[in-house]
């Protein structure tokens, strides 16, 4: 056969060359990413199967004690395995606070994102800029700023006392509430930005179509807006939930020593706890659980999306 196949052959060769060049060009970045991402992970994985050293560190003997230690602790007297209630409490608190953080940031972030997306383009850029400003400051400093507001002699209590709403200062510091306030504050932009992106793409004419077809405001929200901006909701929830679950600075500063979350618990194993394998196993387990949870969540969130009629 003549011209056409030759042409497509040439095209094919060109395309292959382009692909090859693409790979070659991105190779350094890929290699770096691979080493940077999988290297440390591999080390952590290996460490989780070693025996804890006496003064921290590890001794190079295989052991599953790290993994067992996630859920069980050994009785110091008779060496039997018992379910570690303290660990479960920490896990439960982490999940609870992360879910609540996600819910709060969504409740606050959705109206915010809607507001920004419906401004004229210039104002929109300004609002987005304002939203990202907190990112410019160190997390620790932002968290201490929250302390300044909610501590017993803080701004919030002073104002509430002055206007007579309360008689004694609210004790917020070192409670789950404090952690929640801090995390909601820190992660709010991560919810607002993807929501904004989704709402920005939303065709506002669909609102009129909804009202025209007898939907009330709530029905339009439920049956038109939310399903269409769902990808933004999914992205925002993941961006908030995942780092919340691993949060470390915020619970440490605002929650005090007692209200630990998984992040603090892991840190403890590498510090005072001197149980590096347990810390490593916890890290890997957290990673796996988060990935599974996200997989299930994304599946569930996108499944309803397919038409059935």
């Amino acid at each position: 056969m003549s011209p056409p196949p030759r042409l497509s052959e040439a095209e094919d060769r060109q395309r292959r060359a382009a692909t090859r060049n693409g790979w070659l060009l991105s190779a350094p970045a890929l290699v770096l990413l691979f080493i940077a991402a999988s290297g440390p992970l591999l080390i952590v994985l290996v460490y989780s199967f070693l025996t804890p050293g006496k003064y921290g560190d590890v001794s190079w003997e295989f052991s599953t004690s790290g993994w067992v230690g996630i859920l069980f602790s050994r009785d110091i007297f008779d060496d039997t395995l018992k379910l570690a209630d303290a660990h479960l409490t920490i896990f439960w608190r982490s999940v609870k606070l992360s879910l609540l953080t996600t819910a709060i940031t969504f409740a606050l972030g959705f109206p915010t994102a809607w507001f920004i997306a419906t401004r004229p383009p210039k104002a929109r850029a300004l609002w987005l800029f304002l939203i990202t400003i907190p990112f410019w400051t160190n997390l620790l400093i932002r968290t201490f700023a929250i302390t300044e507001i909610i501590r017993n002699e803080g701004i919030l209590n002073k104002v509430l006392l002055a206007i007579g709403v309360i008689a004694a200062p609210l004790r917020i510091m070192n409670t789950d509430t404090a952690v929640l306030i801090g995390m909601a504050y820190v992660y709010l932009p991560l919810m607002v930005l993807p929501l904004f992106a989704a709402i920005d793409r939303f065709d506002m004419r669909l609102l009129e179509a909804g009202y025209d077809l007898y939907a009330s405001r709530m029905q339009v929200l439920r049956h038109v807006i939310l399903p269409i901006v769902r990808p933004g909701i999914v992205a925002g929830s993941i961006l908030v939930f995942v780092p919340s679950l691993g949060a470390y600075v915020t619970p440490r500063v605002l929650g005090g020593g007692k209200n630990m979350m998984i992040g603090n618990f892991i840190e403890l194993q590498f510090g005072q706890g001197r149980n590096w394998p347990l810390g490593a196993a916890l890290s890997i387990a957290l990673l796996i659980v988060v990935m599974l949870a996200m997989l299930i969540y994304v599946r569930a969130a996108t499944k309803e999306d397919t038409p059935h009629g």
Binding site: D203, R205, G210, D212, A215, S216, H223, P307
Partner: protein, 362 residues
């Protein structure tokens, strides 16, 4: 406040699907306010195909949006089926809209789109399913019930939009230039289709277009609008043959305008010729196809000179000048060989078909 409904005068009628009473809509405040609608009153009868026709920016969409409830009038009232709905939101009005952009829900299937209105009204599932099937059959889209709307062609989306708006059986269906996004062939098809749907369902259609041919062929009655005002309401024949003013005459079809004065029994032209004409005003109109080209010496003919001849296939346009310089165009059927026998410079006589000339106001 007591409302006395009997005082509306002759405009009140029992079979009006829509009534607009002295409706004004201004956008903006004070000095810069723009009156998109200026004291508009009209009555749309139950079961008719009513068309709003006018040039871009004349307020057609605004009037439709006021009826649908997306905008509130600055002054005046909107009545649907005799009920004052002026303050009511769109979801409480028994009218549905076919949007120019279709505005189909991208997250729903074709069937779910069609069933949306019924679902929001809280109708039982079985009824929704049955109505959706019926509507999809009506617009011939049964085969696509489960598809996403994003995967449909323009014409198919148009049909879904129609079915969706018809499914809740509204008292009135509002259509804002629904065909303007379609290519010519599809457009013609959908014109027939729309007319069929209107006849089959018996629902009152209010149709917006700026295409006069579309308006003339489809409508029971037409309202011609310009600059926020309704210029004339009438059946297509009336709008074409008896326009009330220069704007309507000019906007619908092509027209020759000749300055004239009304005299008993007709109109007197500048050169003193008196032509039989109906109506009153200072402008004589005559449609190009109503002019007869006669020999120069013909009895009672108006002397004119041929300026140019343009062949259009089925007919030929002959551009003429009267002795006082007034330009006219005559449209004559092309003979079999295509040669009309007229040439620039030729002197001829102009004859008028009986009743063709008409006096109107400026």
């Amino acid at each position: 406040m007591i409302k006395i409904t009997g005082t509306a005068g002759p405009i009140l009628s029992v079979n009006a699907a829509i009534m607009a009473r002295d409706v004004t809509k201004a956008f903006g405040q004070g000095e810069t306010a723009l009156k998109a609608l200026d004291n508009v009153s009209c009555e749309i009868r139950t079961g008719e195909f009513f068309t709003l026709l006018g040039p871009s920016g004349c307020g057609k969409t605004t009037l439709l949006r006021l009826i649908a409830g997306f905008e509130m009038p600055t002054a005046g009232q909107i009545l649907i089926d005799g009920q004052d709905v002026t303050g009511q939101p769109p979801n409480r009005r028994a009218v549905n809209t076919v949007f120019q952009s279709y505005a189909l829900f991208p997250h729903l299937s074709v069937a779910e789109n069609v069933g949306f209105g019924l679902k929001m009204q809280g109708r039982p599932r079985a009824e929704i399913a049955a109505t959706v099937r019926e509507m999809l059959a009506l617009v011939k889209l049964e085969a696509l019930a489960g598809r996403r709307t994003g995967q449909l062609s323009g014409g198919q989306q148009q049909r879904v939009a129609l079915a969706r708006a018809l499914a809740p059986r509204p008292k009135v269906l509002l259509l804002d230039e629904p065909l303007s996004a379609l290519d010519l062939k599809l457009r013609k098809e959908m014109q027939v289709e729309l007319k069929r749907l209107q006849t089959e369902t018996g629902i009152t259609f209010v149709f917006v277009t700026h295409d006069q041919e579309e308006a003339l062929t489809m409508s029971d009655r037409i309202a011609v609008m310009s600059a926020g005002k309704i210029q004339q309401i009438g059946v297509p024949r009336e709008i074409y043959t008896a326009p009330v003013n220069r704007f309507v005459a000019d906007f619908i079809g092509e027209t020759n305008f000749i300055p004239a004065t009304a005299v008993p029994g007709g109109a007197k032209l500048a050169d003193g010729t008196v032509l039989p004409a109906e109506g009153e005003g200072s402008l004589l109109i005559i449609r190009p196809e109503q002019l007869r080209l006669l020999p120069a010496a013909a009895d009672g003919a108006l002397p004119a000179t041929v300026e140019s001849v343009v062949y259009f296939g089925t007919d030929t346009h002959v551009h003429l000048a009267l002795e006082d310089g007034t330009k006219l165009t005559a449209r004559v059927p092309s003979p079999a060989d295509g040669h009309s026998g007229h040439a620039p410079g030729q002197r001829i006589g102009l004859g008028f078909a009986p009743g063709a000339a008409r006096l109107i106001r400026e």
